[in-house]
């Protein structure tokens, strides 16, 4: 007994030291979680901080006088001649009118305030309304992207302001007078890519992503589910099916860029399919997501209890009927969940698409599976690499759009799992 109480005393004396160690160990865990979540918060804060201004555009509203003389027109009634008129001049004139300190030498500086496309816009509007000739109209133009950057990021060292001091003073003044305003950036959602950040949008990339995802979904879901059914229900246990199994597990961990090499070598060089098109992108992403879908579908099939199978077999259903009528419907929610997660992965994938040429600069919104297109993550990549500072906020805004899509897909998967998955 003495031994026991003596040892109890030793234990009691060591407790303080041991609990200090315990607390330290525990705090490492908390620190690790704090680091991981801190990184997550910084990442999101950074993207939102950089990107929220991407959803705003800067406009400049001018009273434009359509003076045929100023536009160097001899016959203002001749539409062919009107189309060739000088549309920059009226813009400069109307700007000069509201900025009295501007002189004749400042023409280029004034011109640098409005977007390069504004003259085209004016021409289109005048062609649509020929009766405007000779009148003064109030028209809203996009500001030059340098003005856009200045208005949004005045005083931020991270952005280089490309306006002269005189221009900056003008912009400040016009902003105060309400001529230059920022408003919701509808252009961002209604146009394709552009060399001019102020006119660049994600619509082309979104449509490209949707087309690519459609091909991926249509191919990978049926093939993945059918493959999973074969492996789970029909495959004999032999070396070959073991090999398929090992193969699928390894494919799931092959770097995605390897699939890009495959797409380039097989689909483009061997089969002669066109580059940069959603169809080929979809094929490549199908091969990439298939392992994920097969693995999750197999898990879903495994979770269907054998009693269901036995019950169906017991009344004389064939193996295929058991599978198609009973196992498949019961496993479907799990399969769908896995497939949505696989699709979300595919939607965020960039590297393999770079290799099959989906990085081209494409202005038009694609209309079919064989039109040259790009996808959202690649658009982010392209903009992030642009030297113009206006593209940084566009890239961040595009990331926010991409993340919104991904989170909705994941939320859908979680909802499906909660709603439809049965617990046996």
């Amino acid at each position: 007994m003495n031994n026991q109480s003596e040892q109890a005393e030793i234990v009691r004396r060591s407790l303080k030291r041991r609990y200090r160690k315990e607390r330290r160990f525990r705090s490492y865990g908390i620190l690790a979680i704090a680091l991981a979540l801190g990184a997550l918060i910084i990442l999101f804060a950074d993207i939102i901080g950089k990107g929220h201004t991407g959803f705003l555009k800067t406009t400049i509203t001018l009273d434009v006088e359509m003076d045929s003389e100023r536009m160097y027109l001899e016959d203002p009634t001749n539409p062919d001649e009107v189309r060739m008129a000088d549309f920059v001049e009226p813009l400069i004139v109307s700007l000069a009118k509201i900025l009295p300190d501007a002189t004749e030498d400042d023409r280029d500086a004034l011109r640098g305030l409005v977007n390069a496309y504004s003259a085209n816009q004016l021409r289109n509007e005048l062609t649509a309304n020929p009766d405007w000739m000779g009148t003064t109209q109030t028209i809203t133009f996009l500001a030059n992207s340098n003005v856009d950057v200045y208005v949004k990021h005045k005083g931020d060292d991270a952005y280089s302001i490309k306006l002269s001091e005189q221009q900056q003073a003008w912009v400040d003044e016009l902003q105060e007078r309400g001529v230059i305003e920022t408003r919701f950036n509808d252009v961002f959602f209604t146009s394709g890519d552009s060399r001019d950040p102020a006119r660049a949008g994600v619509l082309g990339a979104i449509v490209g992503s949707l087309l690519t995802m459609f091909v991926t979904l249509v191919l990978s879901f049926p093939i993945g589910v059918a493959g999973a059914i074969y492996l789970e229900e029909f495959a004999p246990k032999n070396r070959f099916t073991d090999f398929i199994e090992v193969n699928i597990n390894n494919l799931a961990a092959v770097p995605s860029i390897i699939f890009g090499l495959l797409g380039l070598a097989v689909f483009i060089n061997l089969f002669g399919m066109p580059r940069s098109v959603p169809f080929v992108g979809g094929l490549v992403l199908t091969l990439m997501t298939l392992p994920t879908i097969i693995i999750s579908s197999r898990a879903a099939i495994q979770s269907v209890p054998p009693s269901i199978r036995e019950a169906a077999e017991g009344i004389g259903a064939s193996k295929m009927q058991v599978v198609l009528h009973h196992v498949l419907p019961l496993a479907m929610p799990g399969m769908l969940t896995g497939s949505i997660i696989g699709m979300a992965q595919a939607l965020g994938e960039t590297a393999p698409l770079l290799l099959i040429g989906m990085v081209a600069f494409i202005v038009e919104v694609p209309e079919g599976f064989f039109d040259a297109a790009t996808v959202l993550p690649v658009q982010v990549f392209l903009w992030a690499g642009s030297p113009e500072s206006g593209f940084i906020e566009r890239a961040s805004a595009a990331i926010m759009v991409l993340l919104t899509f991904l989170m909705s897909m994941n939320a859908l998967a979680i909802w499906l799992r909660k709603r439809l998955e049965r617990r046996w």
Binding site: N3, Q4, Q7, A8, I10, V11, S14, L15, R18
Partner: protein, 297 residues
């Protein structure tokens, strides 16, 4: 918790009356009603090691232990018997606070070890467990060498200052567990390579290496063959000289062979406690009788 459900009291009375007459064979044990907090037999002792009063354990909304009061004497071997799910293991795990790791588990009542409340907020669980060792249902040696398994407890508690002391503790513990002669030549071998019976004796050696005062055993022989079981039972009898042993068992024969007292649990109630031979020869409660005569289990 002590208030009785008034709806069942009449029936309980009826049962007490029928105590006098010979129990009706047709009566199903499920129909018998247990009075909460009431234990037949000899539940209390003088100067006990454990003094347990009105212990209640619940998992979320399920009450697993219902108002149990019991004393466990010094150097006593007491066995807990009862049908599966009766709460005997849960109760055992309260004695060294192994239920702490289950989030939803709540324990009320008074549990005193040498008159110290083991659930007091200041009470240290590490110290408690150094005093109360435990052996589990399935042998659970660590995936380490035999030596390291036994040395694990003394090492973490700092019980040995030198390697030689540690060697002594390991040897003594293995001797006490009756394993020394079998393993002395392969102390560096991995413990997972031993037979089930050897593994369980190793776990006992591991527990006694920290010189506990109490050893809790949760169905220690249920995964073992009869020969290994016999060796463990022998060991328990020997160990009862220096330790208080609480053993949960499924086997009534085992309880009869090794224990001084036997406690019968039923659906979270402690129905009857008494000297082992009394419980098995003349049970006082008809539930106990039904159980030991094999009418259910």
């Amino acid at each position: 918790m002590n208030t009785m459900n008034p709806g069942i009291s009449a029936e309980a009375d009826a049962r007490h009356k029928s105590d006098a007459v010979i129990p009706v064979a047709e009566e199903k044990p499920e129909d018998t009603v247990i009075e909460e907090g009431k234990t037949v037999g000899k539940a209390f002792a003088d100067n006990p090691k454990y003094k347990l009063r009105h212990v209640d354990v619940s998992y979320g909304d399920d009450r697993a232990i219902k108002n149990i009061s019991l004393d466990i004497g010094r150097n006593e071997v007491i066995s807990f018997i009862g049908p599966s799910g009766c709460g005997k293991s849960t109760f055992l795990r309260c004695l060294n606070r192994m239920n702490d790791s289950i989030e939803s588990c709540r324990i009320t009542g008074q549990l005193l070890l040498d008159d110290e409340d083991i659930y007091a907020s200041k009470k240290d669980v590490v110290e408690l467990r150094a005093r109360v060792g435990m052996v589990f249902q399935k042998p659970n040696p660590f995936p380490k060498s035999i030596y390291d398994n036994v040395a694990y407890g003394p090492k973490i508690h700092g019980l040995a200052n030198r390697k030689a002391e540690l060697d002594d503790i390991v040897e003594n513990s293995l001797r006490k567990a009756g394993l020394w002669n079998e393993v002395k030549d392969r102390l560096d071998a991995n413990a997972t390579g031993m037979s089930g019976g050897q593994q369980q004796r190793l776990c006992i050696a591991r527990a006694i290496a920290v010189s506990p005062e109490v050893i809790l055993m949760d169905e220690p022989c249920s995964a073992l063959d009869p020969i290994a079981t016999a060796r463990i039972e022998e060991l328990i009898s020997e160990m009862s000289k220096s330790y208080t042993i609480v053993i949960v068992t499924h086997s009534m024969q085992q309880a009869a062979r090794v224990s001084h007292r036997t406690a019968y649990f039923h659906l979270g109630h402690l129905v009857e406690v008494n000297e082992t031979n009394k419980v098995f020869t003349s049970p006082q409660h008809d539930l106990t009788e039904s159980y030991i005569t094999g009418r259910f289990g």
